[in-house]
């Protein structure tokens, strides 16, 4: 059953109630525009969603930690007042198969002592690495907090912007500039090799470079993805990740509350079947239930492939543009396993409760392990022994599970969308994939299987079918150089505008890309308001 819109006139319709669509809606509503958000699912949030899948246990079904969410959005939309609360992660814990473990803490001295057990050299290099990354992130921040510069434009404003970017880079020490260019093209492992020697340290650090991409830690280009995951900040501290209270859906709901407070109308269970295009102009949408809603502006927050090839249709696009969108790489490579546990997982290498569990836990014992996991994926299989990023948010946010019980969220790579049987055969392999994940974890947590009350396995196929993420790509498209900045989603169309007049895009498939950032939604809305598009 879907609801019907309350009004017949809207300044803009937003397709998709993920956090970016909601952010765009909130900014437009705040500026006095009449906005309608249409979400296909029964809950808001898209990939930033919380659901009580098992009585008493609330899961961050897809995304599970947050850092990239722009702090100025939190302030401008007053998200704290609307319910947003973020709790920083305290540690990164790496259990090792030999019974040892490495924990990186927010306390740098403690981390230095831990790392020194594996390499004194690395332990002393860490602060230099952190400093270099902080500088890089600060540079990058100036790029992600603004619409992508347009290198092809001769407009004075654009030239100025490029110049300014060039100038800020020139001001920085040369080694940093050099580093920045290197970073864009290197592999995550090569990049880390510039600093560190210990595999035990490099392996868990390198995985930031493969999240959401169908590449291995030794593949060129992954160093950029690493930076993308470092760019987040909490309270001015870069590289800080946190839990959202009540799961990552809490973020989406806070944004939705802000949007509603400014007068936006938001409807769930209202999937859009297609965008109405007449004479090259968008003028409304048709819902899956057959309803038509008109508006001279339509903003899509779903991925570029879905927006253009399905909701609009190639018949309305020029060949060159359609070809670019077809070439846009999605190829999802990750899955998710969510577990409800009747007790705290007991790691054999470091038993008991403790702050080492109050953060993320990586199953990434060595670089070779990660590369082997990728090898299997290359040939169309999920990894038997995958990289897993585990969090147990109930340890710091006890509201997500009954007292003494826990939720365990496992982000898994690799699970290629294109398995060799064909993606539509994923449902038959779903539980085998879930078993591989639980078996891998059980090597470190011997009692895990017995403590599982409920298990949800999400394959890339499920991410596509249920969450509308084409090919299961968690970022609405890979974060590779040829798909970033002024090339996201297509050359010449990186400013949220599209070749269809009145149709705009604002999801993770636009600059500055995926993750719970809010930036695409915010920048799209601000660009539209600035150009008086509505």
């Amino acid at each position: 059953m879907s609801e019907h819109p309350h009004s017949s006139h809207y300044d803009a319709i937003v397709i998709g109630g993920g956090h970016n669509g909601l952010t765009a809606a909130a900014y437009l509503a705040k500026a006095g525009r009449k906005v309608l958000v249409l979400e296909r699912r029964h809950v808001l949030g898209g990939a930033a969603v919380s659901e009580e899948l098992y009585p008493g246990f609330t899961f961050s079904v897809c995304s599970y930690v947050v850092s990239l969410l722009r702090p100025h959005i939190i302030r401008e939309l007053e998200l704290a007042r609307h319910g947003l609360e973020i709790i920083p992660l305290e540690a990164s814990f790496l259990p090792l198969p030999n019974g040892d473990s490495l924990t990186r803490w927010s306390d740098p001295e403690r981390t230095r002592r831990e790392v020194a057990r594996f390499s004194r050299h690395d332990s002393e290099r860490l602060p230099e690495f952190s400093l270099a990354m902080t500088k890089l992130c600060w540079l990058a921040k100036r790029i992600i907090d603004e619409p992508a510069p347009d290198p092809a434009s001769l407009a004075p404003r654009e030239l100025l912007k490029l110049l300014r970017l060039g100038r800020t880079m020139k001001d920085d020490p040369t080694d940093l500039r050099w580093l920045n260019f290197k970073l864009l093209t290197m592999s995550a492992v090569d990049f880390l090799d510039l600093w560190f020697e210990s595999d035990v340290l490099k392996a868990p650090m390198s995985v930031s470079g493969i999240i959401g991409t169908f590449l291995g830690v030794r593949s060129p280009g992954t160093a950029y993805v690493l930076l993308h995951h470092y760019m987040g900040e909490i309270d001015g501290a870069f590289r800080a990740w946190g839990f959202s209270k009540g799961g990552t859906g809490g973020i989406s709901l806070a944004i939705a509350n802000a949007a509603r407070a400014h007068g936006a109308e938001i409807l769930e269970q209202s999937g859009v079947e297609r965008v109405l295009v007449h004479g090259g102009k968008a003028n409304g949408v048709v819902l899956e239930n057959g309803d038509t809603v008109r508006a001279s502006t339509v903003i899509s927050s779903v991925d570029p492939n879905r927006t253009f090839l399905r909701l609009v249709g190639e018949e309305h696009l020029e060949d060159e543009f359609a070809a670019q969108i077809r070439r846009y790489r999605l190829r999802g490579s990750s899955g998710k396993v969510n577990l409800a546990l009747d007790r705290l997982p007991e790691f054999s290498c470091r038993p008991g409760d403790g702050p080492h569990l109050h953060g993320d836990i990586a199953i990434a014992p060595s670089i070779d392990y990660l590369e082997r996991a990728y090898d299997e994926a290359k040939y169309g299989d999920f990894s038997e022994r995958p990289y897993i990023n585990v969090v147990i948010p109930s340890l710091v946010d006890p509201t997500v599970a009954p007292p003494g019980k826990h939720v365990m969220s496992c982000f898994v790579q690799y699970a290629p969308y294109d398995i060799k049987e064909g993606p539509e055969h994923w449902p038959e392999r779903r539980e085998a994939f879930g078993d591989a994940v639980v078996d891998t974890l059980a090597e470190y947590i011997p009692g895990l299987r017995e403590s599982i009350l409920y298990r949800q396995v999400l394959t890339p196929w499920d991410l596509e079918q249920e969450f509308g993420l084409t090919e299961g790509n968690i970022f609405h498209g890979e974060l590779s150089l040829d798909q970033l900045l002024f090339l996201r989603p297509a050359a010449g169309w990186a400013r949220y505008r599209t070749p269809i007049e009145g149709l705009w895009v604002c999801g993770s498939g636009t600059h500055p890309g995926g993750g719970i950032m809010g930036a695409p939604g915010e920048l799209a809305a601000k660009t539209m308001l600035q150009s008086r598009a509505l």
């Binding site: 704290a80 306390d107 902080t134 001015g236 702050p355 710091v396 006890p398």
Partner: protein
């Protein structure tokens, strides 16, 4: 040398950071970890347990207890019913604040007053002719503040289901593990929370019971650093920081009336005589000179200011309390910010400030001094209503 509180046997074992401070002559934990962050988040997301035993306490017994308290403090306590708590302050003859605290009516003729400084000597100045017995119970009781959104669930588990019914600013005698306690729904964090008052000899047992009940709810022992950030978010003034006890001030200009520290609402002016009444009447007629306000720094300007020096914006991790000057937009000094903190929850730089009344309206633009790279600069800020953070659960 400070002395231990009744909970010291437990807090000392947990305080791995060895970060202690002196609080009214007692050892008090600043933070159990090297950084108070985890304790702060526990206070806002789960629950924190804070040893607040160093608060001064006085128990008043007798038919005239209410009359004495009504004479000494700015509130008329004759109407306070059994089981109620009220927040108030008391003044000297010139209507300048001496201290602030709470009064709980525990029984028909039994009241407990708490404060930041010693109480009994001050009460004794006025108690002649009153049929009342004032007992200094500061050392007799240990006190715990259990604060945070899960405080109720924990206390229900520890003390029984009747806690469910205990409303904001109410108190009741209860028992935890058979040990008699007084529980009040009060606190200094501006959140859902309770304070537990227990005889010192049984204090450790109560600590253990509450911690035990709180474990499944991820309770954390919390220190004063974390509490300081929360009290600023809650907009609570701190005696000795945001105002100074009148009877200890060298300068008259340092003294404040209740109206000047945001406690005007607590004054019941038109009633039987009370200490400071005449002066307060005059002040109301004349209008106060100063007002306590909340301010929020302009983040963009703060960030831009740091960028001038090639720095990302720096936020302090804890609360600060060294006062800095405040200016109007034309550069004239209009007051001072006396304490402040970066609110990790609100993503804002907050401060409590005392300003000349003409600059106190919400929305007023001011400038506040900040130091960047050893240089004194200032950034824009806006006067806002306090509390900065006021969750519905506090009173729900």
């Amino acid at each position: 040398m400070p002395v231990p509180t009744p909970f010291h046997p437990r807090t000392s074992g947990l305080c791995g950071s060895l970060l202690w401070k002196e609080w009214s002559g007692y050892y008090a934990v600043r933070s159990y970890d090297t950084c108070h962050e985890r304790e702060y988040y526990a206070l806002r997301h789960a629950a924190g347990l804070i040893d607040v035993s160093p608060l001064f306490k006085a128990d008043l017994y007798g038919p005239d207890a209410a009359a004495l308290l009504s004479l000494v403090t700015v509130r008329n306590l004759r109407k306070l019913r059994v089981g109620r708590v009220t927040y108030l302050c008391w003044c000297d003859d010139d209507g300048k604040v001496v201290d602030d605290g709470t009064v709980t009516r525990i029984g028909e003729q039994h009241y407990r007053l708490t404060g930041n400084g010693p109480l009994c000597g001050w009460l004794a100045r006025y108690s002649d002719g009153f049929d009342v017995n004032v007992e200094d119970t500061s050392d007799a009781y240990g006190a715990l503040a259990l604060q945070g959104p899960l405080a109720r669930a924990i206390l229900v588990a520890a003390a029984g289901p009747e806690i469910e019914q205990l409303r904001f600013f109410r108190g009741r005698e209860s028992a935890i593990g058979g040990i008699p306690v007084l529980i009040t729904r009060t606190g200094y964090t501006g959140d859902l929370g309770y304070e537990i008052w227990v005889e010192r000899d049984r204090a450790v047992e109560v600590w253990d019971r509450v911690m035990g009940a709180g474990r499944p709810y991820r309770i954390q022992p919390a220190g004063l650093d974390a509490m300081d950030v929360t009290r600023i978010e809650a907009g609570f003034v701190l005696c000795g920081v945001d105002y100074f006890p009148a009877h200890h001030c060298m300068l008259d200009s340092r003294k404040s009336s209740p109206y000047e520290i945001g406690l005007g609402w607590a004054v019941n002016l038109d009633r039987e005589p009370f200490v400071g009444q005449r002066a307060l009447r005059e002040e109301v007629a004349r209008g106060a000179v100063w007002e306590l306000v909340g301010i929020e720094y302009d983040w963009d300007e703060y960030e831009a200011l740091h960028a001038e020096y090639g720095l990302p914006p720096q936020v302090t991790s804890g609360a600060w309390r060294d006062a800095v000057p405040l200016y109007d937009t034309r550069g004239r000094q209009i007051g001072q910010a006396t304490s402040g903190a970066w609110s990790p929850l609100l993503k804002k730089n907050l401060a409590l400030a005392t300003v000349r009344t003409g600059h106190a309206a919400p929305g007023t633009r001011v400038r506040v001094e900040v130091t960047v790279e050893y240089e004194r600069r200032n950034v824009g800020a806006t006067v806002v209503k306090t509390p900065f953070f006021d969750p519905a659960r506090k009173k729900a």
